[in-house]
Symmetry: C2
Subunit: 314 residues, 2 copies
Amino acid sequence: MKLPEFIDVKSAAERIRTFIHQTPVLTSQSINEIAGAKLYFKCENFQKAGSFKMRGASNAVFSLPDEKLLNGVATHSSGNFAQALALAAGKRNITSYIVMPDTSPKAKSDAVRSYGGKIIFCEPTLEAREATLNKIVDETGAVFIHPYNQYDVIAGQGTAALELINEAGELDAIFAPVGGGGLLSGTSITTKHLLPNAKIIGGEPMGADDAFRSLLKGEILPSINPKTIADGLLTSLGSLTFPILRKNIDCIVTVSEEEIIYAMRLIWERMKIIVEPSAAVSLAAALQIRYTLSKKKIGIILSGGNLDLNNLPW
Amino acid sequence: MKLPEFIDVKSAAERIRTFIHQTPVLTSQSINEIAGAKLYFKCENFQKAGSFKMRGASNAVFSLPDEKLLNGVATHSSGNFAQALALAAGKRNITSYIVMPDTSPKAKSDAVRSYGGKIIFCEPTLEAREATLNKIVDETGAVFIHPYNQYDVIAGQGTAALELINEAGELDAIFAPVGGGGLLSGTSITTKHLLPNAKIIGGEPMGADDAFRSLLKGEILPSINPKTIADGLLTSLGSLTFPILRKNIDCIVTVSEEEIIYAMRLIWERMKIIVEPSAAVSLAAALQIRYTLSKKKIGIILSGGNLDLNNLPW
């Protein structure tokens, strides 16, 4: 199985440059004091469609030749990848079919629709999602783009760390959240190449700790009924992301719901920016092991900023 | 009466440069679409101590000669100026006495204390505030720094517009919220000098519309029992800010509580940044008169980002 490499991340960066934001890298003196280290926050909450998913979706859509895209693209996602693929497909003037569980919040389906995505609702089970997706692909001839377990998607996600390292310079460690593992895989490919001595650390909610368990056991152990406020991290590692993480990363730090909410609120209050719970998992992980980070330069990837303001965890 | 001029703003910018953040200017494609114009948001919510008040406070503290400051500085404020003066005084290694109403939220008094300010609580009336302040000044010999009706404070507040215009270039209009009028006065001095053709517009809550009424009548008519969610704008114009606004600005646009909350939520959801209700008044005013702004380049000063996350208006 061919795994993406740094050269794929470089190509992705070139390919998607005009379709994404080069997001800012922010710092916070008061969070640095709490962490006892110098933190560089890569703000993908400011990314188009509200998360880093726009990077992978754009790379996948713009990597395919025109003749493959005559019938559009399709995916299943209840979250940020749905919006990202709809927006990326719109930028290439092709149709996108988004299979969403019929329990998705209206705000999310509205966002997908506003980007021009065609929504197909299904029952909220993995089986229904996959069956509906297969049916749509069969009927329309659309190309299936996986939200994370796909070569070009992973390469695209690696461009966030590339920009972060270009801007912040040498880092001693880099933290990213892990759900399906697309962001952490891409981050690890970039970081391993540019900063071979930097630690690469995944932050994962205890209530959805399949990456932690899978890497410990050496085989993919999907989460069963995962539960966490970090709703972008409910998915389990895939056949591509698992071997990449196994090869590249140093450890997974699991964090409690309380640690996620504390870190999220710290970012809102001190940095005055809005991040979703999944994004705060990076900082929560760094704070948990802060005694190992003393005075070091640390990259923190804030993955996204989409959430329901009517339903905050405090 | 001598009023501050552009040269004072220029001096202030030089004087406070190392004590403040040069805050970013952000744009939002989706808010531009709603407004039908190109909006440039000057993000003072990212300023030190959480608001533009740090500019005026720093300029006042660093304008005074050492021998005047032997006994520190004092002010009365329940809000952002309290934090800003405490922080600015700390940077000059002098004592600050902050008179606060005993009804102030604990988060605010904690913030003042964390910056090293000495708090003196008083009853929540204007009379009690002024009496307590006078007593403190008499007892300690501290120099009173007014939150807005003071020459150097106004000049300092004008540096936000200076940075905005330097970064965004020619603007057709600029919006700032108006409470006591320090920010709008400073903004008007800078803008009148650099962009003589630009409109200068104040946004004011209907529930605290003393600037609107005062400028209409041609005399200072203070608000009596003002009430608005924009708690930074409850104060009334002063003897310095009134004549400056009278000379420089084009109009005051008054906005309802609903318009403020709508604008605030729009900024949170679309820009993923946290602003306080007072800051959203600028955008609310621009949206109210958006039919006059068609396709123009508009500066919007977002004044601050301090608010209680446990008490949001939705």
